[in-house]
Amino acid sequence: MLRATLKSMLSRKLRLLLSTLAVVLGVMFVSGAFVLTDTIGRSFDGLFQDIYTDTDVQVTRVSDINSPTTGQAAMPNMPASDVDRIAAVPGVARAVGGVFVDGAKVIDKFGKVVATTGSPRFGAGWTGTSDLVEIRSGRPPQADNEIMISANLATKTGYGIGDTVAVITPIDPVKRSYQVVGIAGFTGGRDTMAGETIVYFTMPVAQQRLLGQTGVFSAVTVFAADGQDNNQLRDRIAAALGPDFSVKTGEQLAQDSSNQIRDALKFFNYLLLGFAGVALFVGVFIILNTFSITVAQRTRELALLRAMGAGRNQVIGSVLTEAAVIGLVASVVGLALGVGVGSALALGLGSLITNGGLHLAGAGLPAAAVIAAFTVGLGITLVAALIPAVRAARIPPVAAMRDAATPDRPVTTLSISGAALLAVGGTFLGLGLAGELGGLNLWAVLGGVLFCFVGVALLTPLFARPVVTALGRALSWGGAGKLGRSNSGRNPRRTAITAAALMVGVAIVTAISVIFSSVKASTVDLVDAGLNANLVIAADPTSATPAQIDPAELQTVRQLPGVEHVVGESIDGAKINGQLSVVSTFDDIAGAVSMLRIQVLDGTLNIGPGEIVVDDKTAAEKGLTVGQPVRVQLARTGEQQMRLAGIYKSVPLASGYAISEQDAQAGFTAPAPITAFVVVRPGADVNTVLGQVREAIADNPEVNVFTVDEYVASAARIFDTILGFVQILLALALVIAVLGVINTLALSMIERTREVGLLRAVGMRRRQVMWMVTVESVVICVFGALLGIAVGTGLGVSAFQAFRDQGLKTLAFPWQLTVIYLIASVFVGLGAAFTPALRAARQDVLGAIAYE
């Protein structure tokens, strides 16, 4: 039986190859994801071990307040007394307070802020050379106007000793100039560890510009006494300092940092796994179809085997053996490709994040990748082949004597189970989107989508014939075209499964497009309705981190003749009555009230130090009333009592807590405004004012001025990037679906050899044969695309409904994209038809008629 199976497989090499491609791609993405994680992980482990090699123990103050703009935990300043306390702990040889924080932004020779691809731009107080840091040339900074820069920064900017360089920091968003007196590097000849840039100031300057006051530090590095175990020392320091401190050994820090990078790169893993999911899901359809057709074609052969005494299990075994061999081959090929893709991505991503600074660990083959590859590759193939295998076993031996008629079985059972699955999927999706399942929400949504897809695929045969007939009428002309049309409606199951493969990709992209278009439209509508301003001063909305605006420059803007108000806003994380919240502050409260059309419900919004206001919804939720004391802990200050001074009506663009500018100045990580809105005086020309504002802020290259429409439009551009990734997903799904269509058509043509021969005998030209096959192909593809658009719209709209109360108000349908997908599906159909059509047309007439 095994020999017979293998022999029969060999004779169908090409067909099997086509059907495995989807599995190969799926396995490739899965194993690629594992290889990527592994390689990147090992590389960064090594990197951070090097970085912290010098550190025995490090102490920082901890805060559980995260910045709402960067997501980073706030690091409260450590006063000099902390250093003394640590130095006093037995076993500590030396405790050195240091300043080393992200945010020293250097202006390059062209007046722009030096950018990195995600690596930090450190500002530091110089504490001397170490086992890691060395001076390449020049000397350390000694005066307040002197700095030393890292070799990487020097190479990047072309700055050298003697040059005057301006630096901006978040706390002090003003260009201040320094003279470069030295270049620092790392031991071992490394210019950078991971693509970062570093500016070394004198300690007082670093403290003032990066921490906001002199005499404080960001972290204390502890050097252990000889023979002192680092872990013991850590525990002793932690015990001595109490709970407000984080005390970690160098090893721990290395591990933490490496883990952070891994987490940051998880996005790419999810992307790869998403690709894998789509490829494999579509692959199931294609394999299912291939095996169904193969079994149908081999009905006589299988019946003969049964007549000769083969048991049902043997027939199932024979089909499953075939599937297993295919699955194995696909797994091996996919794994090999996956190692290549994973390593290449690791190389690309690693050098992108670190600006080429990373030494990549050698390629490895993690066991997880191998296990995943074979589990997925074999599993998917076997599962997909199971239904055809069981169907094969049901062929009665007497079928060998009969004419191999394949009766069109009713699709009732199929449709009922499809509807049931769709209902189950819809329920999961609804519950998941409504967020009623807690931690299981994401899985409920994914599972719901999966069930919906399968349900729709099972329902498809039911309406394949009418839809295909209608489509065919529109697309086909001429006798051959009519035949092609009727061919595509002939085997509803086959047409349905082939179209379903195409549906999946189109549905995913359509759903995401619907959601994003709606988010985009909702944002624009919201801003149009709620913001009474003309211009926005801010960092480019596509940049990853916000930029601070120099308050002095905002004052200049306020003086402009055409300007009515300027409202600068800053936000930060804070703990209000012990709960993490976002707090904003405005430098012109009256202006904000008029600009955002805010309505005061109780008390006053004109607040001073020690006062806080909140919107009515939050107040109701937290049970707050005017005059009540509120406990407020800001990022840089301890907990303090504030008085609730007023309650305002919540509007989409303004809600939550707000505090006075003075309190924010003392407590925010970066108190300078990150966004400023300009209201132009009536009668003044907006463009003229825009030009004047641009001039006023020209000194700060990080921020720019936009009209509100421009700003909203470019803020929405982030969605275009995500859509771009999704389009790649679609392209992949389309490629696989094309393979599916080619496969189905090729198999159908083999099945219809006699028919094509007859058509040629009674006078059909080759061109007409090709046209006939092409019409069939195009009809199937357009059908799939329509299905996908319908399903995708359904998914998108249900997501929209679920997010309705979270600000999603305007449903926008991506008409343009939809039309493009439909047109693309026609081309997919044309492309997929080419080879099968050519083969059908070239078929020898006599041979075809004589074919048994």
């Binding site: 008629a405 001429g478 005998a761 080759r766 004589a850």
Partner: protein, 260 residues
């Protein structure tokens, strides 16, 4: 009912010195060795011969399904050997009809659609008078909406006959048309073919190994080893059987082999 081809003179189909050679060298097989035939217009001709005599090859060459190695074939006044594939296709479409042993109907199409298939391919509308005549002649009016799977073998073959007739071809080639039918259905088909020759002046060429079937023809041509070895006019089954016995003494009676 009169048809245009009757005004033309000369044979409907003719072959001069027709050779067909398969393969080269040792593996060479000569299927036809200089066959000369002229098949008259408006007549029912049967081609007979034992298995391997070349009768199917001859029919394929005459019908433009296969090209001869040497020699000339004419359908009406058209010479086949100068025609490329496209021209041959059009010729088959417009001037030739086929009836096969396996019926060869398209399972997806109804009986009516199958009958109209050659016209559909050509993009022509049926002449409704002629179409009705053909449908009545095969007696399928109440079965037109059925799919082939819902028809008996005899009915399917009658659909195939109607399909061959509907374009009013110069000649219909029938390859063992009764080979897959029981004797009654077979007799029906033969009677129908006879009638279409008598009543509509249709030219029919039938390949068969069944002496009974061949006895319905006006003329029987005998083939052996790729040569024409004899013929009978207005044959009876007994006369045919005699002739066959002489050709192939080892296999008395009807040749046991199929035609393909």
């Amino acid at each position: 009912m009169s048809i245009d081809t009757q005004v033309e003179t000369g044979p409907a189909v003719s072959a001069v010195d027709l050779w067909k050679v398969y393969g080269v060298g040792e593996a060479q097989v000569i299927a036809l060795r200089g066959v000369n035939v002229a098949l008259e217009r408006g007549r029912f001709t049967a081609i007979m011969g034992p298995s391997g005599s070349g009768k199917s090859t001859l029919m394929h060459c005459l019908a433009g399904l296969d090209t001869a190695s040497r020699g000339e074939v004419h359908i009406g006044t058209t010479s086949l050997d100068r025609l490329n594939d496209n021209a041959l296709t059009v010729l088959r479409r417009d001037k030739v009809g086929f009836v096969f042993q396996q019926f060869n109907l398209l399972p997806a199409l109804s009986a009516e659609e199958n009958i109209l298939l050659p016209l559909t391919i050509a993009g022509r509308r049926p002449d409704s008078g002629w179409y009705d005549t053909v449908i009545d002649a095969v007696g399928l009016r109440d079965r037109l909406k059925h799919k082939p799977a819902q028809l008996s073998g005899g009915q399917q073959q009658r659909v195939a006959c109607a399909r061959a007739m509907v374009t009013r071809p110069e000649v219909i080639f029938a390859d063992e048309p009764t080979g897959n039918l029981d004797s009654r259905s077979g007799a029906d088909i033969l009677t129908f073919l006879q009638r279409s020759v008598r009543e509509f002046g249709q030219t029919i060429v039938m390949v068969t190994h069944d002496p009974n079937a061949a006895s319905h023809a006006d003329r029987v041509i005998f083939l052996a080893d790729g040569n024409v070895v004899g013929e009978l006019a207005s044959p009876t089954p007994e006369a045919i059987l005699d002739q066959l016995k002489r050709l192939d003494p080892a296999a008395p009676g009807a040749g046991e082999a199929g035609s393909a």
